[in-house]
């Protein structure tokens, strides 16, 4: 059977599965809609969190990024996993004990202030919308490449599927579809990786194969790749070219941003007990680590394979995948010296081949000549990754509107049933907006993803940490800290990414820190401002200090959800 038939079969099977689960797990109350009734087992929550977290970017984009950046790509690997240690140790157990529905709930109650709550809502919306547009685009890409439908039709189909289970099932439906989606995506990621690892190094475990010896040669794979890279004028694969300070700050910003992302945090509200929150963070990272330790291996395999396949080879003799991707514009060949041979080198004036990093995972099975069903599986995995993350984000958006804005501020006397209808309606609106951005992507999507992490790092993370670990932190300190953090982040991003406030180039970066890494600086600013201001303003009221005491003690989390 050809790739397209296989893709139709596998994609239809998995979509049928998601819809079946959604019908089975309908939400009947706001508590079920927001936090799946608070009764999800730690294992299921770990699986769901992993799928929630791993987006189209993790599944499709990351291995490609690492492939082209070598050691510099480590920022994503450490950044997007290390954040879970912070989440597990510093946030999840306490927020679970606090036991409400959303992050703005915590900020608003802990800082006894609707101003703080509103800032948190705006941040949550900004972060989630930025993210969700990228997911919808990912869905469209997979559809257009593998099912040969128009990219917009792809986005539209994705919207309908997400709409169906997010609106019907809320958190409950999302949780159990995410469990299924994790299984699909990890299977789809591992199968080609294992195949290629055996092909190239004879070792079936990609994590070991990456450090293994090339089949039929006596040189280790990484040494060989270092050699190939330097021969073509690229930086040594294992050394990279970013400055140490920038690597340090980007890693920190991604870690802290991860721990501050509302759609991840909210998953820990769904388990029954504090100890379950800790444990499910462990499971989540374990399941994430399976993909995140395989991705760098795929990166090495793909890079080596790519260079060996294309470098100094006749253009006419390129395999079929080459021309297929050329049609999409994601591979471009420009025969500058008219010799019909592909020169793939670092020197921009001589290089004749440009390859979009995003296609590495999708093209990898084809480059390695794997069977058609494996290629189809990767497409289904990419869709699972994009849809699961999109659903999690849409839930945060709808909850922010129906719960944090309507119930908590505009219309406190709304009935549970009314709130549930509001939640479903906001989910519908959110899906439509996300779909719109998926079809008409703003050109700044890539730049704004860095902004999403920076904002989460600069706003939520310090406010939550101080709210738990500093009993005397008051609303003046927290609000001032968040505002300064957010403004600093926005300023730096607008200046260096959008050329406002005088603009600037790489040479003008403060201390050589890129906008991606500036979230760390903004976070530190937030901490400093909060601590200083809180010393000169009144202590928080007694009942708030008592609240802090209670969230530090695990017992009694069960009852906390009830009100």
């Amino acid at each position: 059977m050809d790739v397209q038939t296989w893709t139709y079969i596998i994609v239809l099977l998995t979509f049928g599965l998601y819809i079946g689960i959604a019908i089975w797990a309908r939400a009947g109350s706001t508590k079920e809609f927001y936090v799946a009734g608070g009764g999800v087992s730690p294992l299921a929550n770990g699986l769901a969190t992993a799928a929630d977290w791993m987006s189209a970017a993790s599944f499709l984009g990351m291995a490609g990024l690492i492939s082209f950046n070598g050691y510099d790509g480590s920022v994503y690997l450490m950044g997007w996993t290390g954040g879970y240690v912070l989440l597990a140790l510093l946030l999840a157990p306490y927020l679970r004990k606090f036991g409400k529905f959303t992050v703005p709930d915590f900020i608003g109650d802990r800082y006894y202030s609707n101003v703080a709550r509103t800032i948190a809502v705006i941040c949550a919306l900004l972060v989630s919308f930025t993210y969700v547009a990228g997911q919808m685009r990912g869905v469209g890409l997979v559809f257009s490449r593998f099912l040969e439908v128009d990219i917009n039709t792809g986005v539209f189909i994705g919207m309908i599927i997400v709409l169906f289970y997010a609106v019907l099932g809320g958190m409950k439906g999302i949780t159990y579809t995410q469990v299924a989606q994790y299984c699909v995506l990890i299977f789809a990621f591992m199968v080609p990786a294992i195949f290629i690892s055996i092909q190239m190094t004879g070792n079936p475990i990609p994590q070991f194969g990456m450090g293994g010896t090339v089949v039929g040669e006596s040189v280790s794979l990484l040494d060989k790749l270092d050699g190939l890279s330097t021969d073509l004028g690229f930086a040594e694969y294992t050394n990279g070219s970013k400055s140490m300070i920038d690597i340090f700050f980007i890693t920190a910003a991604l870690m802290v941003g991860t721990a501050g992302l509302p759609h991840v945090i909210v998953r820990f509200f769904t388990v029954p007990k504090v100890r379950d929150a800790r444990k499910s963070a462990g499971y989540a990272l374990l399941f994430i680590a399976i993909l995140y330790t395989t991705a760098p291996a795929i990166a090495v395999f793909a890079r080596t394979n790519l260079i060996e396949t294309v470098s100094n080879k006749e253009y006419e003799e390129m395999p079929a995948w080459f021309s297929k991707w050329e049609k999409t514009g994601l591979i471009e060949y420009d025969d500058k010296n008219n010799d019909g041979v592909i020169q793939y080198v670092a020197d921009k004036n001589k290089n004749e081949l440009t390859i979009d990093a995003d296609i590495m995972v999708l093209a990898n099975p084809e480059i390695a000549n794997l069977p058609n069903w494996v290629i189809a599986l990767v497409a289904a995995g990419g869709l699972a990754a994009a849809l699961s993350t999109a659903a999690g984000l849409l839930l945060v958006i709808s909850t922010s509107i129906s719960h944090d804005l309507i119930k908590k501020q505009l219309k406190p006397d709304i009935s549970d049933k009314g709130e549930l209808i509001a939640a479903r309606l906001s989910a519908v609106v959110a899906v439509c907006v996300a779909g719109y951005f998926g079809i008409n992507p703003p050109d700044f999507v890539a730049a704004t993803v860095a902004l999403a992490f920076g904002l989460a790092a600069a706003s939520f993370f310090p406010a939550i940490i101080l709210g738990i670990f500093n009993k005397k932190m008051n609303k003046e300190g927290a609000v001032a800290g968040m505002v300064v953090g957010i403004l600093a982040m926005l300023f730096y991003m607008l200046k260096f990414k959008f050329d406002m406030f005088g603009g600037g180039t790489k040479e003008d970066w403060w201390f050589g820190i890129s906008p991606e890494g500036f979230g760390t600086v903004a976070m530190i600013l937030n901490f400093v401002v909060s601590l200083v201001i809180s010393r000169f303003t009144p202590n928080p009221p007694e009942d708030v200090q008592e609240l802090v005491e209670t969230i530090r003690i695990p017992s009694g989390a069960g009852e906390a959800v009830e009100h």
């Binding site: 290390g82 890693t251 009694g556």
Partner: protein, 84 residues
């Protein structure tokens, strides 16, 4: 629960956090970034050690750290009788 006991529970918790987060910092920011060039002179199989920590080792340690934390805290909760 009386205030003294609460304070002691919290202090022990903070002690665990300090140790675990030090290890967290060491394997990622330490071995994977700050000391990467020095460690890269050592080889672990086909890997340079610093590179291995940055792309593999730190992630394994992160997973372990959380499960160790879960065990430590479950014990601590029992000791202070605040488990559920």
């Amino acid at each position: 629960m009386d205030i003294e006991k609460r304070k002691k529970y919290w202090k022990e918790n903070l002690g665990y956090l300090a140790i675990l987060l030090t290890i967290w910092f060491l394997v990622s920011f330490g071995f994977g970034i700050l000391l990467v060039d020095q460690l890269n002179t050592i080889k672990l199989g086909g890997f340079k050690l610093g590179f291995w920590f940055a792309q593999q080792g730190s992630i394994y340690v992160f997973v372990l750290l959380i499960f160790i934390y879960v065990r430590l805290m479950n014990k601590l909760d029992k000791k202070y009788n605040v488990n559920e």
